[in-house]
Subunit: 503 residues, 3 copies
Amino acid sequence: MHLARLLLPALLILLLPAAPAARAADPPVSEATAECIGCHESATPGIVEDWRRSRHSHAVPAEAIKADALSRRISAKSADGLPGTVVGCAECHTAFPEKHADTFEHNGHKVHVVVTPPDCARCHPVEREQYAGNLMANAFGNLDNNALYQDLVGSVNGFQEFAGGKLSPHAPGASAGAESCYYCHGTRVEAKGMHERETSMGTMAFPTLSGWPNGGVGRVNPDGSRGACTSCHTRHEFSIEMARKPYTCAECHKGPDVPAYLVYEASKHGNIYQAMNKSWDFKAVPWKVGKDFSAPTCASCHASLLVAGEGTVIAERTHRMNDRLALRLFGLPYAHPHPVSADTSTIRNRGGLPLPTELTGEPVASALIDAKEQEQRRAAMQKVCRACHAADWVNGQYARFEDTVKDTNAMTLSATKVLLSAWEKGVAAGPAQKGSPFDEPVEKMWVEQWLFYANSTRFASAMAGADYGVFANGRWYLSKNLRDMLGMVELESRSRGAAPPLK
Amino acid sequence: MHLARLLLPALLILLLPAAPAARAADPPVSEATAECIGCHESATPGIVEDWRRSRHSHAVPAEAIKADALSRRISAKSADGLPGTVVGCAECHTAFPEKHADTFEHNGHKVHVVVTPPDCARCHPVEREQYAGNLMANAFGNLDNNALYQDLVGSVNGFQEFAGGKLSPHAPGASAGAESCYYCHGTRVEAKGMHERETSMGTMAFPTLSGWPNGGVGRVNPDGSRGACTSCHTRHEFSIEMARKPYTCAECHKGPDVPAYLVYEASKHGNIYQAMNKSWDFKAVPWKVGKDFSAPTCASCHASLLVAGEGTVIAERTHRMNDRLALRLFGLPYAHPHPVSADTSTIRNRGGLPLPTELTGEPVASALIDAKEQEQRRAAMQKVCRACHAADWVNGQYARFEDTVKDTNAMTLSATKVLLSAWEKGVAAGPAQKGSPFDEPVEKMWVEQWLFYANSTRFASAMAGADYGVFANGRWYLSKNLRDMLGMVELESRSRGAAPPLK
Amino acid sequence: MHLARLLLPALLILLLPAAPAARAADPPVSEATAECIGCHESATPGIVEDWRRSRHSHAVPAEAIKADALSRRISAKSADGLPGTVVGCAECHTAFPEKHADTFEHNGHKVHVVVTPPDCARCHPVEREQYAGNLMANAFGNLDNNALYQDLVGSVNGFQEFAGGKLSPHAPGASAGAESCYYCHGTRVEAKGMHERETSMGTMAFPTLSGWPNGGVGRVNPDGSRGACTSCHTRHEFSIEMARKPYTCAECHKGPDVPAYLVYEASKHGNIYQAMNKSWDFKAVPWKVGKDFSAPTCASCHASLLVAGEGTVIAERTHRMNDRLALRLFGLPYAHPHPVSADTSTIRNRGGLPLPTELTGEPVASALIDAKEQEQRRAAMQKVCRACHAADWVNGQYARFEDTVKDTNAMTLSATKVLLSAWEKGVAAGPAQKGSPFDEPVEKMWVEQWLFYANSTRFASAMAGADYGVFANGRWYLSKNLRDMLGMVELESRSRGAAPPLK
């Protein structure tokens, strides 16, 4: 039996989960990155560990580009200029130093705090380009440069002082915005000089950034670029698993204005995901329908490169999130075809308002995609549906969905008419009376009609999360709120003597 | 040391997770199913993979019936007529072709689209029978054949047009219903002739189905049967794990009308489930309390066959979901003992209304289970509780719960009295005034009183999700809404001159 | 090759996940515990299995105390008096029998039903001491001994009877409280004699307990102690994994009054947790930032002992949950510095009300921690933040948060002024009119202003769950509700003739 003992070393090697001898030499880390880690391992240990778990800490772009087209994760056209080391701290935080207004001297390196899409585009140029055409990349300007939306923002975020029997509105401060709308839309981050701070390494100087911190999807960066790849590809693990799971999208798509995640959670797709995802492969590229996952997440339908088992492409990867969407469910105030340009701040309706629809519901056709483009996008999405569903199932679902878009737009129109009557009767002051359309009780009910209840009903329809769309936050409130608006207008009219008592 | 090398093959076999040589030959797939897969592998790859992961793709019913009684998953009495192949596409989609009005010729097979409970009953007759006695199997008719409920449905789903200072209701279209109430309750699916469609195999003909798609629990099928096993046993993996996890029930039990899932999530049981379930065994049959799982899911308390470690049966499997429930918490408008018959559409109270309770709260005793049956069902549930809890704990919990049922019914009665006073004072038009009881603001508040707040408070009590039942959607609103109803009646009365000003 | 066969037994031992031969003898179970298990294995199998999975069933305190300081899980100063057996049923349920008023004779043992902090303190004295200084340990008395809060509780939980056109309030019964507020705050559990009950072992006598069952954080126990360790360390697995996951805290911190969990779920931290936690180590002590987990849970920031990879302590373990919190976000009705004493029932503001702030928002400084203590607690929390975030990020986040505390307090002040005007105009009856401040519609709106909307906005700010703090339950309602309050006061005034019609 002492032979067994002789064999032990060989046996033990066999028992190791992955034989280290078979692994290639550790991929090279740049000298600059090694220096960063030298200090940050103790200064900010959490993010160093995040990075160590990341693909970036193991992948060498100049090598990674050799992978076959479907499984390649970088989209640079050639290896020229790609790092020959792993993608570490320095590869991103010291790229293009002259372009970043927040570049500063830090222990002998020209470091910038805010890594931006152009930095990522060194390896991922196609994704960056797609994303630049995404509404999300323009989310700051689309909100900030729209006077009507700014009026709404002010009515939500501004402090209201009560004195003399009246509420006087104050403009919201920067913190209020940065913590609410602009957390998701992105802030404008600008370098405003330097400041000194005590650190464990002594006094050091750092750039002073306005609008910081922020990781919003449309962040305006110190290099002038727009967007933050890290909104979805969370620092510093940049995990594709995380980006593909629905919690990432849920950070900004859970409120009643755009309750995509809540609808998903209530849907059959969400049920399957929640029950079964622990055994799915969220890292596989391309993503194999049925094999790697058995129900879609947000990413499956809206972004990922999907293939059938044998490698047939079902959907191309896109970072322009509406590539498979004909209609924009988010009512402004009506659902409408998606805008042609990702910059929507220049759209004007016939009434001169910066809205993609008239107040009567008609879309501003010139600014929106035409029927042919709508059909192409619808077809792209339906191809994804048909990976699991028969065409009749898919067509039936779409027919209902399109009915629901019409129904909910009609209910928004009814609410708009009630609001107009409120303005006419003088129970609220609208634009014609030089008032904001967002600050009085009946006006806020009108906002809820389209922003919460019509939107929620449409999302519940599109993604088949029926339970959410009835009593949780959909049709029940859509009809109740409309009736309540009328009730309030009547009551106010009578109480003001503008209408006679009924009895 | 070269002996080690000699031994390697033997060692490697030992290292394999399951020695393939020890596995039986692959179970037989029917020729018809093989043909289906031949095309559908590329036509709808997702569902073919789902099925491949399923127990159906491995189990041969004629063999599976030999398992011992507790661990058997099929309930057919004999092997006669059971498939000798695995349960594939053809075994279900071509069963009893003459009975299915949606049977059509498809590549030489008589296929039907909508697989129904009688198809499943070939192997699972006991479960089908139990489910037929379940309220859920009758959910379509119980809603569709009740004029009062239809009035409520119309007030929720119908478009309202504003003109001449008034809102005029329109009846909802089929899409609105199919996307909301009937998503869960089930639609009526009928074959309405055939239509042709281009496919990757050329032009083919398919049956045209009304009410399609749908997977609601009370679906009326083209073979006349009621229900869809796949509501909970999701196609095409039919995973018992998924049916046992709470997300399946949550698809239809999450709204404020029946917030069972939200209450569960907030409860100690839900906490344990969420934190620890990754190491539980959701596939074991029978399901061993404490060993396979350490806190109940919906299925544990309401459906599953539960045993103690040594095999003692704690609860028999049931698919009649109220077998362990004495009281129906869902107020119509008051909580009441469960109905005797799963078809509730014929119940009438003394006032002739199709409700299981009077408007004063008294149950319609003749249609509801008696005290003895209530006691038996309560005892069945308490036996489940006592697998982990001492009897005093269980009794204390039940005593509180029964108090809460009384309290919330009393709060519904108060709200009903306020509504009656509104009708009397003429500030809303009720049935006596030939109006709907569901369409005016104070009436909608009354609906919320029992449908949302009383129900939510009761569910929070029954399942000990206290935090949900206070401020989230329970007692706070139950008392606030009642006070608001009175405030509105008073305000309307005064503003209409029906009541004198107070000062 | 037959040598391979000879070697098989040795090989098989190597292949076992943990060689039993190498394991120490099974740790000793006390005779008393063995007796408990003898019956309870079949009487309550679920909890016996829970315990078998627990650390308690394997750890011998007299041995466990020898672990090094950072990884030790018990805090007794010496092994004297520590059990030399594992911690089984008897070790807790028969400890200090003379001190527990619910001790009863049970099969020859002096057993008590309600295990209390002093029982746990045998091994965990430091944690017990810390927890005694926690607001949570005083949650029963802080609610029950505060007349103002009791008025609020009554207005929420009490039945309201409608007669003669009026609603008359009734005091809530014990069940209503135990199922709502006191589920989390804890009940007063008292032994009220004995009762007999049939069991599978024949008729047995058990103590009758008032307020039972309950597992609230501030439970008053039959031994006079306060708190229940099992609120968070759930019986009978007492899993540190469960206590560290956010679902435990969510049991009581999910409603709109204190929506910490919902905010967390919407935050980047919550996103990372939800997507990635399946591969984290929730059992490691100490808890290594970045290695064991890559985003904080509630426990990480508020309770756990955290170290950097190399063992540097980032935060000391604490069971006084506000040790790292300067400000109490929970408005009463304004956010304020944390109270000095965990017993807040004796605090009085200048108006004599049992509140930590004046109605104008000024804190009752004498009862609250001073600026220096605030700074220390803020620094303790920021040190946790800085394990992953640069100081500028942390400082920026805190600056916004402190602005938001001011903003939301200001919006509460505006609402309070509107309420005062309502009382002055006689459209509601406040304390000066001998009315409750909580029972009329405009008063309930005022409660929602601070209890729901200001609190929610602050939690969303503190934990960066922006989406929750805008439309889900934050700033939108904070501004809408304030405007609605004024609208209601004006409408009521006009309708009562207290104000002239506007036209």
